[in-house]
């Protein structure tokens, strides 16, 4: 099974309000309130750590959930946020934001 990598889009703003993480797409101002588990995934979405490792090392250690269920939920979460453009999902590691922005603008630096 191939690895999945997730990274936060550069076109989002996120704030923790009390126990909740709120993420807003700066492109269309859509707001998302993340559950505790989703917030863990969000904060761990560095583009370098495979999703299954995030689930195993972060989610399953903090929440009472089996790995297969947690991974399935995490993949659904990633796909849903990716559909709104606030999370990037790839089968390859995702470059850091500066490189993403440069690639998007055609800047070859």
């Amino acid at each position: 099974m191939s690895a999945t990598y997730i990274a936060r889009s550069t076109a989002v703003a996120a704030r923790r309000l009390g126990e909740e993480m709120v993420v807003m797409s700066a492109l269309d101002s859509t707001l998302f309130s993340l559950s505790e588990v989703a917030a863990v995934l969000w904060e761990a979405a560095d583009g370098r750590t495979p999703l299954d490792r995030i689930v195993r090392e972060r989610v399953c250690t903090e929440f009472a959930v089996d790995e297969a269920t947690a991974l399935r939920d995490a993949e659904e979460f990633a796909a849903a946020l990716a559909a709104h453009g606030v999370l990037l999902v790839s089968a390859q590691p995702i470059e850091p934001p500066a490189a993403q922005a440069a690639a998007a603008s055609g800047d070859p630096r």
Binding site: A11, V12, A13, L17, G18, V22, M24, L27, S29
Partner: protein, 259 residues
């Protein structure tokens, strides 16, 4: 003529006596001839017949230059040079619209915002009543007792301060038809208003408050950086200022709950 709202001054240069008369009348308590302007506009008369204020406002930004257009006015300005040009027929709606947009753009990176809300100052503390059209903003202003200084019945002006947020009076009037008083106060509470079968006050969770206030925020730009600035301001606002849901009956007793 220099119009100062919320501590930010915008100067309009015109030799047209009709424009001068319009500005002097509508913004009389907000005129500050000695204030250093944050923005300066040359006003130019438009050809007669351009009065379709109902037309949708179009806002765009190209390489730092903002272009605004509606049936009754055209404007172009640059936030870096702080200069622009307004072409319109002499009517208050064009100047009001321009001022709202310019202030919202200047406030965004400075931790301020414009909110669809009426408001007042009571006992030195500011209270805002936010809602969509028809929620009761003007009604709350009309019901205000005599010890309340009205800030506006339509568009409220907020700025971040060391001790929280401050609210300022604005000349932007709704159905009440009169400008707010040119005063400011620390913001004590925000009420998300709706008509109800009784007067009832309920605290609103922070995330829900952010969601509701974002919907009621006046913002015309789509630049991700500025949108993120507004989001950050709203998040900070709900952290620092209590937000309540206020269901109310349209009589003066509702103000007994505003303390």
């Amino acid at each position: 003529m220099t119009i100062e709202i919320g501590g930010l001054a915008v100067r309009f240069r015109t030799a047209d006596p009709e424009f001068c008369s319009l500005l002097a009348g509508r913004y009389s308590s907000f005129l500050r001839p000695d204030s250093a302007p944050e923005m300066e506009f040359e006003m130019v008369s438009a050809a007669p017949g351009r009065t379709a204020a109902e037309q949708d406002l179009e806002v765009s930004c190209e390489e730092g230059r903002w272009l605004l257009g509606r049936g009754d006015f055209q404007a172009a300005f640059d936030l870096r040079s702080r200069r622009g040009r307004l072409t319109c027929v002499p009517n208050p709606y064009s100047v009001d619209a321009l001022l709202r947009i310019v202030h919202s753009l200047l406030l965004a990176p400075a931790g301020g915002m414009l909110l669809h809300a009426s408001g007042g100052v009571r006992g030195g503390r500011g209270f805002l009543f936010s809602g969509v059209s028809g929620a009761g903003k003007t009604t709350m202003a009309r019901l205000a007792p005599g010890d309340v200084q009205l800030l506006t019945d339509e568009i409220s002006y907020l700025r971040r301060a060391d001790d929280g947020f401050r609210v300022f009076g604005t000349p932007f009037a709704g159905e009440l038809g009169t400008p707010g008083e040119n005063v400011c106060a620390p913001l004590a509470a925000i009420y998300l208003i709706e008509h109800g079968s009784a007067n009832r006050l309920t605290p609103v969770r922070e995330t829900e408050a952010v969601r509701r206030l974002m919907r009621n925020t006046l913002f015309f730009a789509s630049e991700p950086r500025l949108v993120a600035d507004v989001f950050a301001t709203v998040c900070e606002l709900v952290r620092r200022v209590p937000v309540f849901r206020l269901e109310f009956l349209p009589d003066a007793r509702v103000w007994e709950m505003i303390q």
